[in-house]
C-alpha cells in the first residue's frame, strides 16, 4: 500500500477492506471517468452530425456509396449492382445503407458532414437546390450517357446548366384499376374529365367507392393536385408554381381547387385518417373502382398484381392535352468533395447503364430503368406499361414534394391540402393563406 497522502486516506486505511467496500476515491475516480467518458462520446457524436452515415473509407480503387434503402428490394438491387461492378471493373463499392426516411431527414447534416463519394437522391428541385448551395458535385463529365434520352437530362440539370445527377429508375403515377372489375361491369377507360366523372357516377350507382383515397401521411393528395394542375394549367405553369414563381392566389390555382372539389364527392370519405395502404386495400377487395397513386401500389397486390392496370389521368383542357405526368426519377449524385472523383464518375456511368439494370434484375425484381437500351424482358406487365406511359409522356414532373422546397411542401402544402380535404368550401381563404406563407418562405 502506498503511503497515505492525507489524513482522511490514512484513517480510511484503518478500516478493513471488507467493511470499507470500494474506496471512496475509487468510486469518485470511477464516477468522474464515466462522466467524462459519456460527455466525450456525446460531444463526439454531436460533432459528427450524421457520423454513422458518412465516412466509409475510400482508398484507391474504392468508391463509397450512401444508399437510402436498407432491407428493401431496392437495397438488394443496389447490393447486386455493387457486386457486379466489383467483378467488371475491380473497383470496390463501400456500401453504406441507411433507412429511407432517416436518410432523407438527415440529408442536410449528412451533406455538410462527411458524405459518401456517391449517394442516392432524386431529380428535381431538391437536387437543384443542393447544387445551388454547393453541397453536391458537378457530374457533367459523366454525360452524355448512352441510352438516356434528353427529357431525363433536363431533369438532371441544375440552374447553372450543368448536370449534378445521374438518373437510374423511375415510377410513374397514374389512375389504377382492376381489369377484372372493368371487364365484369363493362367500364371503359376514360380519356376526358367528363368521361371520368361519368364513370365515377356509374361506379357510385354500382355501390362502389369510385376513387380510393387515403391522405393520413399528407403526401398522397399531392399526386392528385399535380395531375389536376398539369392538366388544367400545363406543365410549365406547374413547375414554375412549384419553384415559387407565380401566385397560388391566382385564377389558375383556384380553378384547380374548384375542379378538385367537384371530384371530392367521388373520393373515399374520411381520407385523413387512412393510410395509402388501407386505401389500397379497398381496391384490392374490389370495394373501390380506381386509385390515383404511384406504381408502388403493387406492394398491396402480392398475389393478383396481374389484375392491376392503369391509365393516365384524363384530359381536362384539349389545348393542354394529357401528356405531362408525374414520374419521380431516382438516381445518384456525387458529393461536393469526393475522395475518389474519377472512380465516382466511372461508377455513376455504370449505375445508369443497361448492365446495372441487368444486375438489379438478377435479384428477381427488376427496376424500371431510365436507360432505353436496358433489357425489358424481365419486366412485369405493370413495369412494361410504365415504360410505355413514360415514353409517350412529353414532360415529366417529379411529384410536388420533390419539385419544390421541402420546407414549403411539408409545413405549408400538406396542412393546406388536408384542410381543403376536410373543408373544401373555403378555397378563397386557403389560396390566400398558402400564398402568404409561400412569400414568407421563398423570400427568406
Amino acid at each position: 500500500m502506498p503511503r497515505p497522502q492525507s489524513q482522511a486516506e490514512y484513517l480510511a486505511g484503518l478500516v478493513p477492506p471488507s467493511v470499507a467496500g470500494i474506496g471512496r476515491r475509487a468510486v469518485l475516480r470511477g464516477a468522474l471517468g464515466v462522466g467524462a467518458g459519456i460527455g466525450l462520446t456525446g460531444l463526439l457524436a454531436a460533432c459528427g452530425g450524421g457520423g454513422g452515415q458518412g465516412g466509409a473509407a475510400a482508398g484507391p480503387g474504392t468508391v463509397s456509396l450512401g444508399s437510402n434503402e436498407s432491407g428493401t428490394t431496392f437495397a438488394k438491387q443496389r447490393e447486386a449492382m455493387a457486386a457486379d461492378y466489383l467483378k467488371s471493373s475491380g473497383t470496390t463499392i463501400a456500401l453504406n445503407e441507411v433507412d429511407h426516411n432517416t436518410f432523407q431527414e438527415n440529408i442536410n447534416t449528412y451533406l455538410q458532414g462527411n458524405p459518401d463519394d456517391v449517394f442516392s437522391w432524386f431529380a428535381g428541385y431538391r437536387m437543384r437546390f443542393f447544387a445551388g448551395q454547393g453541397l453536391i458535385g458537378d457530374v457533367s463529365s459523366a454525360w452524355p450517357l448512352p441510352g438516356v434520352v434528353d427529357k431525363f437530362k433536363v431533369q438532371s440539370t441544375a440552374d447553372d446548366g450543368k448536370q449534378y445527377f445521374v438518373p437510374q429508375s423511375y415510377y410513374p403515377w397514374a389512375v389504377f384499376y382492376r381489369k377484372s372489375m372493368f371487364q365484369a361491369a363493362g367500364y371503359q377507360v376514360p380519356t376526358t374529365l367528363d368521361e371520368f366523372t361519368a364513370l365515377c357516377r356509374r361506379m357510385q350507382a354500382d355501390k362502389l367507392v369510385p376513387i380510393a383515397f387515403g391522405d393520413k401521411d399528407g403526401w398522397p393528395a399531392m399526386g392528385t393536385f399535380d395531375m389536376l394542375n398539369m392538366r388544367i394549367n400545363g406543365y410549365k405553369y406547374h413547375v414554375d408554381l412549384m419553384a415559387g414563381q407565380g401566385s397560388w392566389d391566382s385564377p389558375q390555382v383556384r380553378t384547380v381547387f374548384d375542379t378538385w372539389r367537384g371530384l371530392l364527392p367521388y373520393h373515399q370519405p374520411d381520407a385523413l385518417g387512412r393510410t395509402w395502404q388501407e386505401a389500397a386495400q379497398t381496391l384490392q377487395k374490389k370495394q373501390a373502382g380506381m386509385y390515383i397513386l404511384g406504381t408502388f401500389l403493387n406492394e398491396q397486390f402480392p398475389t393478383d398484381e396481374d389484375d392491376l392496370d392503369f391509365f393516365t389521368f384524363p384530359e381536362i383542357d384539349s389545348r393542354i392535352g394529357a401528356t405531362a405526368i408525374d414520374a419521380p426519377i431516382d438516381g445518384f449524385c456525387m458529393s461536393a468533395k469526393p475522395k475518389n472523383e474519377a472512380g465516382s464518375i466511372a461508377f455513376l456511368k455504370y449505375l445508369t447503364s443497361p448492365q446495372a439494370a441487368a444486375a438489379a434484375a438478377s435479384t428477381g425484381l427488376p427496376l424500371i430503368a431510365v436507360n432505353s437500351e436496358a433489357d425489358t424482358k424481365p419486366y412485369s406487365q405493370l413495369q412494361l406499361k410504365s415504360v410505355e406511359l413514360v415514353s409517350k409522356a412529353t414532360e415529366i414532373a417529379q411529384f410536388l414534394d420533390r419539385d419544390t422546397r421541402p420546407d414549403f411542401a411539408s409545413t405549408v402544402v400538406i396542412p393546406a391540402f388536408q384542410q381543403f380535404i376536410s373543408k373544401p368550401d373555403d378555397v378563397d381563404g386557403l389560396v390566400k393563406s398558402i400564398e402568404a406563407q409561400k412569400k414568407s418562405i421563398f423570400t427568406s
Binding site: S6, L32, G35, N108, E278, S410, P415, S433, S440
Partner: protein, 307 residues
C-alpha cells in the same frame, strides 16, 4: 463541504476540521463542480440562448454561420399572423393541460388512494395500471392504431360506427387524449402511491380517534401533509402537457387537428424542412410559457423553505 467529504461518524478534532482541503481533494472538488457546470452550460444554457438568438434570424441550416440573416421579429409576426397551425396548437396545448388535470391526474390520485387501502390483489392492480407507462410510445401508438383505424379498427367494428377517430379534426384530439390518459393515469398513480406510503400512519390513527371520517381525513389531513407531492404532480402534469409530442407525432406528425407546439417546432427545424429561425421562434415561445410555470413553482417552493 469539508464535513460532507469526510467519512461520517468518525471523530476528528475540531481544529483539524477547519483546516483547508488537501491539494488532491481540492482538485477533486473543483472537478466535481466545474465538469457538471460545463455540461449544464454547454448542453442546456448555450442551446437555449442560441435558439432564442436564432429566432430573430432566417437560416436554412446550410453553410457557414455568416449565411444567417437577421430578420428582427419577422418570425414572430409570421407565426402569429400567417401560420395557420399556430393558434390551434396553443389551444390544443391548453386543452391537453386541462384534460390531463381533470381526467387522468384526478383518476390516478383516486386509484392511488384506493390501492393504499391494501385491498386484496393490490400488487396486481398496480402492475396492470402501471403497465402502459412501461410501454414505449411507438408501441402505444401502434396499439391504439389497431383500435382507432377507421376501416379495420376494433372500436368501429364493435360499435358498428364509421367514426374516423384519427382523421376527423373534431374527434382526433380527444382520441389521442384518451390514449395519453391511459398512460398518464398509471404514472400519477405510482407517484402518488409512493407519497401516500410515506405519510405517518399515526396521523390517520389520531384522526380516526378524533372521529374523523375517511373523506374528511383525506381532505383535511392527508392532502395538506402531501403538499410537496401535490406540487410535484402539478409540475409533472404541466411539463407533460407542454412536452406532449410523441403520440401526436406517431399519429400524423401533428397535423390536421392534432397541432401541438412541440410538433410544430420539430416539423420546422428537424428534417429536410430546416426553417431554423422560424422553428426557433416557436421554441422560444414554448420556453416562455414553461418559464411562467417554473417561476410559479420556484416561488412556492422558496416560500416554503423560508417559513
Amino acid at each position: 463541504m469539508t464535513s460532507k467529504l469526510r467519512a461520517p461518524g468518525r471523530s476528528i478534532p475540531r481544529t483539524r476540521r477547519q483546516r483547508k482541503l488537501a491539494p488532491r481533494d481540492r482538485v477533486v472538488v473543483t472537478a466535481m463542480v466545474v465538469i457538471p457546470a460545463l455540461f449544464v452550460i454547454g448542453l442546456v444554457w448555450l442551446p437555449a440562448i442560441s435558439s432564442v438568438l436564432l429566432s430573430f434570424t432566417s437560416w436554412n441550416g446550410i453553410g457557414s454561420l455568416d449565411k444567417i440573416k437577421f430578420v428582427g421579429v419577422q418570425n414572430y409576426v409570421d407565426i402569429a399572423t400567417i401560420y395557420p397551425p399556430f393558434w390551434p396548437a396553443v389551444q390544443h396545448n391548453i386543452i391537453w393541460l386541462v384534460f390531463l388535470i381533470l381526467g387522468p391526474t384526478l383518476l390516478g390520485i383516486f386509484l392511488a388512494v384506493l390501492l393504499d387501502k391494501e385491498v386484496r390483489g393490490t400488487r396486481i392492480y398496480q402492475t396492470v395500471l402501471y403497465m402502459p407507462v412501461v410501454l414505449s410510445l411507438a408501441l402505444v401508438g401502434f396499439i391504439w392504431q389497431l383500435l382507432y383505424s377507421r376501416d379495420q379498427g376494433l372500436l368501429n367494428a364493435v360499435l358498428h360506427t364509421q367514426i374516423d377517430w384519427y382523421g376527423d379534426p373534431n374527434v382526433n384530439l380527444w382520441a389521442v387524449l384518451v390514449a395519453t390518459g391511459w398512460r398518464h393515469t398509471g404514472y400519477i398513480m405510482l407517484l402518488y402511491l409512493a407519497g401516500l406510503k410515506g405519510v405517518d400512519p399515526s396521523l390517520r390513527e389520531a384522526a380516526a380517534i378524533d372521529g374523523s371520517g375517511e373523506v374528511s381525513t383525506f381532505f383535511r389531513i392527508i392532502l395538506p401533509v402531501m403538499r410537496p407531492i401535490n406540487l410535484i404532480i402539478i409540475v409533472v402534469v404541466v411539463i407533460e402537457s407542454l412536452r406532449a409530442f410523441d403520440l401526436v407525432w406517431i399519429v400524423n406528425q401533428g397535423r390536421n387537428g392534432l397541432e401541438i407546439i412541440a410538433a410544430l417546432v420539430t416539423s420546422n427545424v428537424v428534417g429536410e424542412a430546416s426553417r431554423i429561425g422560424f422553428g426557433s421562434a416557436m421554441a422560444t415561445i414554448m420556453l416562455l410559457i414553461s418559464s411562467v410555470f417554473i417561476t410559479i413553482y420556484l416561488r412556492v417552493v422558496m416560500k416554503e423553505d423560508k417559513s
